[in-house]
Amino acid sequence: MEHRVTTTIPADLPLQEPVQAERIRRRARSVRTRDAEDRGILGIADRRRTGVRTGSTVINVLLGAALVVTGLLPLLWLAKSAITPTQDTLMMPLRLFPNGVAWSNLERAWNDVHIQNFFWNTIVMAAGSWAVQMVVATTAGYALAVLRPAYGRVLTGLVLATLFVPAVVLLVPLYLTVLHPPLIGHSLINTFWAVWLPAGASAFNVLLVMRFFESLPREVFEAARTDGAGTFRLFWSVVLPMSKPILGVVSIFAINAAWADFLWPNLVLTDIAIQPLSVRLPQIQSSTDLGVYLASLTIATVIPVAIFLVFQRTFLSGAGLGGAVKG
């Protein structure tokens, strides 16, 4: 992609006065930096025009209203309905507490539905998936990008190939594999391993980590080697500490994917005791009173939203970084 690089300095600056040109350039540069900080499509000159100003305020307000309606109102409705009696939610869903508040919904969501158990299961499931993915991605990335064995090309190719295979292709045989895993005597169904282990087979993670390790300066490795560092030492004390950013990105993807997974846990975790939220909530829909059900959905939503609000920067920059990395 080519850039048409021009500057704000007129191109026909007299060449005989380099010093003066330099001073002008420097001033322009500082002006430009100030511009660069707060300009996007609209520049300073644009923002001074009243037409643009009013237009942009109007759009700002409309955008804000739209975002509040689509992003905030559904969640507020959910929270409100969690403590509204079922009949009111059925008959007059948008009125605000016409017959008072039903705190019992929350209590029953806690005591009858045991929403906290499924929450815990979700956390355990996500934590295990994260751990397996981290182990697989970092060790494989290290071996392929830093140690670079002769057969590494082949392995990288094999990993890359799986990137283009949609997950659905694995659905049936993976299920049968989990039913009859090699070496282990009994099936992994209804254990968390049935979710954790397949999660580790993520080519995306491996390639991400590989690319990052490849971009690390090899001199650091050489230096560590000459200092007598063995392979493991190199991994543990040199490569890993330098990889915090990429590990953060991979972690966000891993936890996000594990958290949201539905089809696979639905298939392999049929024992109610270890089902995560995403599997359990649809199952109890028909046997749970609507008010209690909405209260359960609310509890299942509050904690991730709270975590998000506290760590917004990490989430949003990670999400954006993901896009940049993908690009």
């Binding site: 355990v124 934590a127 099936s187 169904i189 254990t191 968390f192 391993w193 890993l240 109610i272």
Partner: protein, 461 residues
């Protein structure tokens, strides 16, 4: 600043510990290291109320006291066709679970259930069984593969409170399809926001209900020729008549509400929350309505589903069969049969067991006298009703219309071949009729014929 390495290690350690703890699969219990026989039984549906679970725990304690060498763990479980075959192959099924009448024979013939003939013959009631009822649990080889319980006939359940609100007499429920239509219309007009009548439409229950409707009018979805060949005849006059009836209620009277995608548990919930006034389901559904939906049984009414006149018109029946995991050891199978006999059969024949069971159920606010059909014979059934009368928690008047009418109804069996596939194909027909004003019923039914016939023919038999 924690190094990433340490974080990874700590994470891995936590995960490994939790994994090891959670790693024990909760499949069938084998030897537990002690000399007891361990059974995992599955007598209640997921989402069972706390009361139901308490009642169940009482019964388990009772059984364990009488059989100190058997340890019973009761879990919530719903048998679904979806993953059954794979669960069986993977060995994660409970030791005792129940399957519907429609599937028990096919599963038995497929070698997917344990043969319990020897232990069954040891039970006290082995000879008293109604041949037709026991037949569903018998394989083609004559061996017994399960113990049936709670047989029911299809019935019309209705909400007495809504009837009263609409000015209808709850003790005089409709007795013909036309009367159902009239009452539904009245309810839709007088009680806004309530569907007068509705029936199930998805996850194979749509076909199940439609088949019931067809057979109540005298039609048949499948016909068996004298040579044993099965022909799919979904495209018959009675099915079309039934669909016409649904169509007119939906599009002319607008008495079926606005939501049309219901499976068995979904319509139960709609009924329990007062959104549906009348619907077709098994006669014992009040048990589930109380167990899973916490429905107030004083509002419940049930009557026989109307049959047309004519010798072909009959009511579909169904039931449950408690079966044993085919991978269990002989000791486990013997223990399992003892449990099933205790939990399901004894309360119907032994006075003490019946009374005990009724008391426990009542204490747990579970249905004591949900309408069921005789497992043995009518006399035994009536005697049982007498025994539990003092504990009955469903008002007798509410279930009288069904109990008095059912004995004069002819019971007809479900279509014999590829029943679930047939029902699945019929789901689409009912959904189309209820959601598309211009649904081409003829074409849809012919499509069902073709699709299911191909499956039957492919069996080669």
């Amino acid at each position: 600043m924690k190094s990433p390495g340490k974080v990874l290690l700590a994470g891995a350690a936590v995960v490994a510990t939790v994994g090891a703890l959670a790693g024990c699969s909760s499949g069938s219990g084998g030897g537990g290291g002690d000399s007891k026989i361990h059974l995992v039984v599955a007598p209640v549906l997921p989402g069972a109320t706390a009361d139901a679970l308490k009642a169940l725990a009482e019964r388990v304690k009772e059984f364990e006291k009488a059989n100190p060498d058997i340890d019973v763990k009761a879990i919530e479980y719903q048998w679904t066709g979806t993953t059954f075959a794979a669960e069986l192959a993977g060995g994660t099924l409970p030791d005792v679970f129940n399957v519907p009448f429609t599937d028990s024979k096919a599963l038995a013939n497929n070698g997917q259930l344990a043969d319990i003939t020897a232990d069954f013959k040891k039970t006290s009631t082995a000879d008293k069984w109604n041949k037709n009822v026991l037949n569903v649990a018998t394989g083609d080889n004559g061996k017994i593969y399960g113990i049936p319980w709670g047989p029911y006939a299809m019935a019309l359940s209705y909400n007495r409170e809504i009837f009263q609100k609409a000015g209808l007499d709850p003790d005089k429920p409709p007795t013909t399809l036309d009367e159902i239509r009239q009452d539904a219309k009245t309810i839709a007009e007088k009680v806004p926001g309530v569907a007068g009548y509705m029936q199930m439409t998805k996850d194979n229950t749509g076909g199940w209900n439609l088949t019931t409707l067809t057979q109540s009018l005298g039609g048949r979805m499948e016909r068996v020729g004298s040579d044993g060949k099965v022909t799919v005849t979904a495209d018959n006059a009675q099915t079309k008549q039934g669909l016409e009836w649904l169509k007119s209620m939906r599009w002319e009277d607008d008495s079926m509400g606005s939501n049309f995608l219901f499976d068995w548990s979904g319509i139960n919930q709609a009924f329990a929350s007062g959104q549906v006034a009348m619907y077709m389901s098994g006669s014992d559904v009040i048990g589930s309505l109380m167990q899973a939906n916490g429905f107030d049984q004083t509002k419940y009414g049930v009557t026989t589903y109307p049959l047309a006149s004519g010798s072909d018109a009959g009511i579909l029946s169904g039931g449950n069969v408690d079966v044993v995991n085919v991978k269990d050891s002989p000791e486990q199978i013997a223990a399992a049969v003892k449990w099933i006999d205790f939990y399901r059969t004894q309360p119907t024949v032994d006075k003490d067991a019946a009374v005990k069971n009724a008391q426990t159920l009542k204490a747990g606010n579970q249905a004591v006298n949900a309408p069921t059909l005789p497992v043995f014979d009518k006399a035994t059934w009536q005697q049982n009703q007498e025994w539990i009368k003092p504990y009955a928690n469903i008002p007798a008047a509410n279930i009288a219309p069904f109990n008095t009418g059912i004995f004069s109804q002819q019971i007809v069996p479900e279509p014999p071949r590829h029943t679930q596939d047939l029902y699945n194909a019929l789901d689409g027909v009912v959904q189309a009729v209820l959601t598309d004003r211009n649904a081409d019923v003829d074409a849809l039914l012919k499509g069902v014929d073709a699709k299911v016939q191909a499956l039957i023919d492919a069996d080669g038999k």
